[in-house]
Amino acid sequence: MNALFIPVRLENLDWQERSFEIRSCTPDSRLADSLDRFGILVPPWVLDNGAGGYIPVDGFKRLSHAREKGVASVECRVFDSTAARGDLLLTRIETKLFEGPLNPAEKARIVSLLWETVSFEHLCEKYLPVLQIPARREVVDRWLCLAARGDAFLEAAVSGKICDRAALLLAEWEDAAGEKGLGILKDLRCSASIQVEILEGIIQIALRDDASVGDVLGRRDFNAVLDDPHLNHRQKTQTLRSLLTRLRFPRLRAREERFANEVRRVRLPGGVQIVPPPSFEGDHWQLNLHFCGIPELQSLLDETRRIAGSPAMAKLMSSTQQESMDETGTPGNSLTFRK
């Protein structure tokens, strides 16, 4: 590809043509500072359109800044009109890839540009490893959705208000649900793993109930938590997580609650704790004893032995309280979805 460094009059730039643009969605203040102090140090790239005008290829922010400052012309690297647009785009991406870490907005845009330009195999082989994106079709689809989503998503992801995975999950939701989900995560200000847990919970409930994520987001109980004026963002996050777990695992949750009630009823001595297996799976239960000195240990053991032989203990460990299904086998306390 032939290119010359020559001054280009900004009035000759086609500002509407942004097909080469890879937006970073980051604030421009540092760049603006530097441009004010030192001017344009690295010439932007433009493509001669063969009709006396130029298409911006690289350096959109630099060029815009110059225009805002009333600069008439900027030295650019000008590719002549015979340059193949696809090759030029790949060259642009190539330099971008090795400039340093890319943010989610840039990654999403690069994936979508490459999607239009190279084969899926080529994308997987050459570019996705550099972008640190798993080479799977469904993952690429998510990045494409994110690229197609509005700036609000990209800016939230770039600014760290939502994590990349949450942005990718949200990008696949219908418009209104996506916006609402984004708003919720921004309000909750929770960690990346909790963001993903919340979104996955919503998705799983929707899939199970053959409903849309929008339907889950519209639930009254769900919104009651979000709108509760007495809860701060941390408390809202916790309450929402509990609600989602109860909706997602109703019988496990019911068992946990029953277990907690039974433990209270058994009246274990202080310093004694019974821990069921995780999710009550298997038969390895634990008994934890905390004591100071032998007399206290002996008294705890005596008391614990008495409790171990009681019917209350058997009840505590048993799963048989199974009114959870109705006669037809419809899970009774698994929440059937109500719109």
């Binding site: 019988r251 999710s279 799963s319 959870s324 299904m325 037809t328 086998g329």
Partner: protein
Amino acid sequence: MKGEVFTAVMIVKPPGKIRVEEAVLDSDLVSTLRKNLPHAKLEVADRISEAVEPDPDVVEVVHFKGRFLKSCPGTRHYSCCGYRILHFGVQCNLACSYCVLQAYLNLPNLRLFGNTRELIAELESELDSHTERLHRIGTGEFTDSLLLDPWTEWTTRLVPLFAQRNNAVLELKTKTNFIENLRNLDHRGHTIASWSLNAGLIAKREEPRAASLDERFHAAARCASWGYPLAFHFDPMIEHEGWRKGYGEILDRLFDAVDPSRVVWISLGAFRFMPDLKPLIRGKHPRSRYIHGEFIRGLDDKMRYFRDIRIELYSFMLERIRRVDPDLCVYLCMEGRDIWREVFGFSPEDRGGLPNMLDSAVKERMNTGNDFAA
């Protein structure tokens, strides 16, 4: 018959291509396939690579270099039945939505092992070297036992072989009704014809290419009339709306179709899966909502229904089976002692272990294995 009758019929086309590895080109299996599939195109290769594009029209015949007899993949946490698996091929194109074989991405095609002489030799040597033991051997772990039988006639070799052994029984586990080859075989009651069953709605939605439940019952009744002992496997049991009605009806239809005294055992296994299978099922069968049920991570790292759900499923089935035949051997596939105790009131260990319980069922219902020296 009681209950709703689903009319789905089995959709299995004869393979249109036989792709064979050079080393097994002269095998009996390839000759039989060519005889029974005269229009199939024959392709010969030095070696058939593993990661090829899926081709539903092909059956591959390869030279298998591993052990043909494998142990049932039990774990220390969940009681295993002590079965041995006779590994004669991989894959299945009945396309059940929950099938674990979908995860065998590098082996997408129906594949048979052509070195059958070596397979038979290994099997005979195993049976002969442990004559003191009752061998329960099945073929339906990595494929369906009878899916390709119309073209391989594999049962015509295996069934008579087991008929000669007083210390061994063969179980052919299937969702097909491909039983014609069994009709005139001298089986001496040493081969169990067995079917996987499910609730009507699940069979219809999730096993779309398998034989309909009516076809399976009809096939079972015919096998019984030819003197074969029978077995049934409710595995995977899937919790769905109206599951009690669904599974209850299938049990009614089963016992209408066959005499319970001909049934050696019924196994129950709630749906469980490796976590990796979930995205595959989600992608390939987006309408299969059961995958979003109340699953927790089991002690073997597989996802399982929360235990109380499993207990409900099993207890319901056990109670319904016991009403019909209190002595019929019912067992749980890959379950822990605690679940056994809550469902049955005892654990396999209390009865000498699950393998021992199944051996007893063979002795009692098949009259086999009582006298190994005979």
